[in-house]
C-alpha cells in the first residue's frame, strides 16, 4: 500500500506543472496577472494610478472598467454619493451634489444589470454610500439594447443571488453572455468567457488545477508564439482612438466628452436621428421585461433597506429622436417603451417615496436640442442643470 502511495506521489510534478502553467499564463485573467497581454493591465494600471492620485486620465480606448472600479472601491477614498448607470450618466459630477464625496461609477454600455453589479462590487468592498444616483434613459426595463459587459457577468450572478432573484434570471444572464461570446468575441475570449461563467464554490482556484484550463493556457501560449501580435492599448486589444475622439476621465469618475462629440450641432444630430443608422437603437424596443422589473424592484428595495437614499435621474433622448420614436410606435398602435418605463419607475418611486429628477420626455424635462452631443448623450453642464432644475422644482419626494 505504501509503495502505491509513493507511486502516486511521483505524479505530483505533473499536477504542479499544470498549476504553474495555469497560474503564469492565466488566459482568463483569474489571478490578477496576464502573462500574454501585459499592456492591458498597464493601461488599466495607469488609469487607476491617475484616478487615485486625483489626476485626470485621457482615455485612449476602452478599458476594463471593473478593474478600475474595484481599485477605487478598495482604496481609502471616501464615497458619499455613488452614481450608477450607463454612458449617459458619465458626465454627472460632484458639482451637482456640492459638499459630498461623489464617485461616478457609470459604465459604458451599462444597463440595469451593470448598475446592480457595480453596486455589488462596492458592497463587497465594504462601501455603504449615503446616496445612490441611478440614471435611467428608458431602455433599462425592457430587453437589453446593448451587449452585456463581460467583465461584470460573475458579479451580476452574485448580485442576483444576494437579492434572492429566481435562478431563471441568472440563466438569462448566462445566455446573454454566451450569445455575446459566440457572436463578438474571438475564440480565445469566448473560451475565457466559459471559464468565467463556470463558477463553482472554489472559483477561481479550481481553475488552477483544471486540465481544461491547462489546455486553454497551452493554446493561448501557442497562439502567442505563432500568431502575429495584436495592438493592445485598450481592453480587447483595440487600436488607440484618434485624438479628437478621446474622452477624459476625471478623478471623480465623471467624463468630459471628446472634442468631436462636443462639436456636434443640433442640426447634425437631427440628421443622424432621421437616418436609418438609429433604427435599431430607437425602434423595435421590447416592452417591460419581468426579469428586469424584478431586478429593479429588488435592487432599489435592497438599497432602501440598507438606509441608502436613492435618486432616480431620468435622462431624456434628443427631442427629435423622442418624437420619431413616439411616431413609430403610434403608427404601430403600440405603447412607447419610454412612456412605459417612466410610468413604471414613477409608480414605484411614488410607492417608495423616492426622488426622481428629470423625465424621459424631453419637453417635460425641459431640455433643449443644443444640450446634447448626440441623440442620447447630454452635455455635462446640461445634465447638471437637469438635475439641479428638478431638484429645485420638486423639493422633495416625487
Amino acid at each position: 500500500m505504501r509503495r502505491l502511495f509513493i507511486k502516486f506521489a511521483s505524479f505530483v510534478p505533473i499536477v504542479l506543472l499544470v498549476a504553474a502553467v495555469n497560474r503564469s499564463v492565466d488566459p482568463a485573467r483569474f489571478y490578477g496577472t496576464h502573462f500574454l497581454d501585459p499592456s492591458r493591465d498597464q493601461y488599466e494600471g495607469a488609469v487607476i494610478d491617475n484616478l487615485l492620485a486625483g489626476r485626470s486620465q485621457v482615455l485612449v480606448g476602452p478599458y476594463n472598467e471593473r478593474l478600475v472600479l474595484e481599485a477605487v472601491f478598495r482604496s481609502k477614498r471616501p464615497i458619499d454619493t455613488l452614481v450608477l448607470g450607463s454612458s449617459v450618466a458619465k458626465p454627472i459630477n460632484g458639482d451637482s451634489f456640492p459638499g459630498e464625496n461623489l464617485y461616478n461609477a457609470a459604465i459604458y454600455g451599462g444597463e440595469l444589470e451593470e448598475a446592480a453589479a457595480v453596486y455589488q462590487l462596492a458592497w463587497e468592498n465594504g462601501r455603504r454610500p449615503k446616496r445612490v444616483v441611478l440614471e435611467f434613459h428608458g431602455r433599462e426595463l425592457g430587453g437589453r439594447n446593448w451587449d452585456i459587459v463581460p467583465e461584470l457577468v460573475p458579479v451580476m450572478l452574485r448580485v442576483r443571488k444576494r437579492l434572492g432573484l429566481p435562478s431563471d434570471d441568472s440563466e438569462s444572464i448566462r445566455e446573454l453572455f454566451t450569445q455575446r461570446a459566440d457572436r463578438t468575441m474571438p475564440d480565445n475570449q469566448s473560451t475565457a468567457a466559459q471559464f468565467v461563467v463556470d463558477q463553482s464554490w472554489l472559483h477561481p482556484y479550481d481553475k488552477l488545477f483544471s486540465p481544461r484550463y491547462f489546455q486553454f493556457s497551452l493554446r493561448s501560449l501557442g497562439n502567442a508564439w505563432f500568431d502575429a501580435p495584436t495592438v493592445t492599448v485598450g481592453s480587447g486589444g483595440v487600436a488607440p482612438q484618434p485624438e479628437d475622439e478621446r474622452q477624459v476621465l476625471c478623478p471623480d469618475g465623471s467624463v468630459l466628452w471628446s472634442r468631436k462629440w462636443l462639436s456636434h450641432t443640433a442640426e447634425q444630430i437631427r440628421q443622424l436621428v432621421q437616418s436609418d443608422a438609429m433604427k435599431p437603437v430607437l425602434w423595435n424596443r421590447p416592452p417591460l421585461s419581468p426579469s428586469h422589473c424584478r431586478l429593479f424592484d429588488a435592487f432599489i428595495t435592497d438599497l432602501e433597506r440598507s438606509g441608502i437614499k436613492v435618486i432616480l435621474v431620468l435622462v431624456p433622448p434628443f427631442p427629435a429622436a423622442f418624437d420619431r420614436m413616439h411616431d413609430a410606435y403610434a403608427r404601430a398602435h403600440k405603447p412607447c417603451p419610454l412612456d412605459e418605463c417612466e410610468s413604471y419607475v414613477r409608480a414605484f418611486a411614488k410607492k417608495h417615496s423616492i426622488q426622481i429628477d428629470g423625465s424621459l420626455d424631453p419637453r417635460k424635462a425641459g431640455v433643449a436640442e443644443d444640450e446634447f452631443v448626440d441623440y442620447i448623450h447630454m452635455r455635462r453642464d446640461a445634465l447638471a442643470r437637469l438635475i439641479a432644475r428638478n431638484n429645485a422644482a420638486q423639493q422633495g419626494p416625487n
Binding site: M1, R3, I14, P211, Q215, L218, R219
Partner: protein
Amino acid sequence: MLFDSLQFAVFFPIVCGLFWTLPQRFRWLLLLVSSYYFYMCWRPEYALVLVLITAIDFGVGIALARATEPKTRRLILLTSLAANLGILFFFKYYDFAARSLNSLTATVVVPELAMVLPIGLSFHTFQSMGYTVDVYRRKVEPERDWGTFATFIVFFPQLVAGPIERAGDLLPQLRHYENFDYGRVTNGLKLMAWGLFKKMVIADRLARLVDPIYAVPESQSGLMLALATVGFGYQIYCDFSGYSDIAIGAAEVLGVRLMTNFRAPYHSRSIREFWTRWHISLSTWFRDYVYIPLGGNQVSAGRWAFNILIVFFLSGIWHGANWTFLVWGLYHAVLIIAGRVTQGFTSALHGFSRREQRRRLPAAVGIVWTFLLVTAGWVFFRAPSIHVAMTIFQRMAADWQSFLIPARLAGHLSLIGWQSWDTVVICLALLALEIGDTVGLRFSIRKWLAEQSTVVRWTAYYLLVLALIVGGQFNGPPFIYFQF
C-alpha cells in the same frame, strides 16, 4: 456516475481504500453499498429495478435448486426469463412497440409512456438471466448468500455497460476477495488509464467531428460524411472498449477478474472474426444462450442461416428500440451468411497467395474489406432513422472531388469547430491505438512494461498521463453504450 468524471475520481479511491482496510467479511457489504451509490447517482428511484431483478433471480436460483421435476424447473426458469424480459420490454421496447403500432394503424391504439430507460438495463438483465439459465442447466450452483448474489448483479465496475459476466466466473470471486496485491492493483490502474485515454482523447474528440456532421447529414458532402462515418467507427470502438478497459481495470484493482470484451476488432479479416473480437461478452452470451440451443452450426445450411438471422436480429434489437439497430443486426447476419457462401472463393485466394508467398496481402485486403463493411454498418447504428441512413449513403456517393483540395476540406472542418490541432491529436492517438492493438495481440503490454527499467516505465506513465491532460476532452459526452 461516469468513469471519466471528477465524482468517480473521488469515489473510487475511497472505495478502494476502505475495501483493502476492511476485514474480508465486510467487503461484500462495502461493494454492495458503493455499487448502489454508484448507480443511484444517476436516478435513485431506478435502484428499485435492480432490487427487483436481484430478488426475483435470487429466489429463482434457490427454487431451481430445490425443484427436481424437469417440468417444474422449466416453469421456474420461464418465470425468471419472463420477469427479466418483461422489465426489459417495459422500459426499453414498450414505447417503440406502441409507436410502431400507432403509426401502422394511424391511430393511438396504445398510449406511449415516455419512460426513461434505466441505465445499463440490458447489461444487468442479461447477466442475471445468464445466471438463472446456468443454474437451470446445473452449470453453476445457486448462490445461497443474498449479499453475494446482490453484489453479483450490481458490482459497480461492470454494472452499467458490462462486460456481461458469467455467474460461474464472477460469483466465486465475490465469495472470497483477494487481499491487496501491489502488482495487480497497478496493473488495473494502468488498464484504467489506457481506457481513459481511448475514451477522452480519441472517442470524445471524434465526437466533436461526428456529431455536427451527423446532425445535418443532408447538407454535408460525401467526403465529410465518409470522414464522420469512419470517425464514428473509431469513436464507438474507443468509447466502448475504453469503458470496458476502465471497468476491467477497476475490478482488477479490487481483486476481481472480468472477461476481456474487445480484442483489436478492426484487425479482423472477416465479419465472422470481427464478432469474436467485438463486444465479446455479448456475442458469447448470444452464442451460449441462443445460438447453440438453436442448433448452432450442427444443422443444415438453411437452418444455420436462420439461426444466424435470429441471433443478429436479437443482437440488433438488444442495442436499442429502433429499426436502425434491427437493420444493423440483420446487415451483419447477411454479411456472415454471405461470408460462408463465398468461403470457397476466399480460400482459393488464400491458397493462391500461399503459392505466391504473399500471404500478407490477402490478410491486409481482408482487414481493410472487413473494416469497410463494418464501417458501412455503423451508418445504420448512428443514424436516427432508416430514412436518414439511406440519405447518408446517397450523399456519401456524391461531391468528393472539390473536397479533395486540402484547404477546402480544412475550411469545412473548421466550420464545425474542428481545428488542425484536433487532426494532429487524433492522428497521434489513433497511431498509438493501432500500435497498442497490434502489439497487444502478440503479448501483454502491461506485463512487458512491468519488466522494463524504471526510466522506460515512468516515461511511459508520464506520457500517458500528459496525453490525457493535454489531449483529453474533459467535458465530453457520456459513454455511448450507457443508453443500452
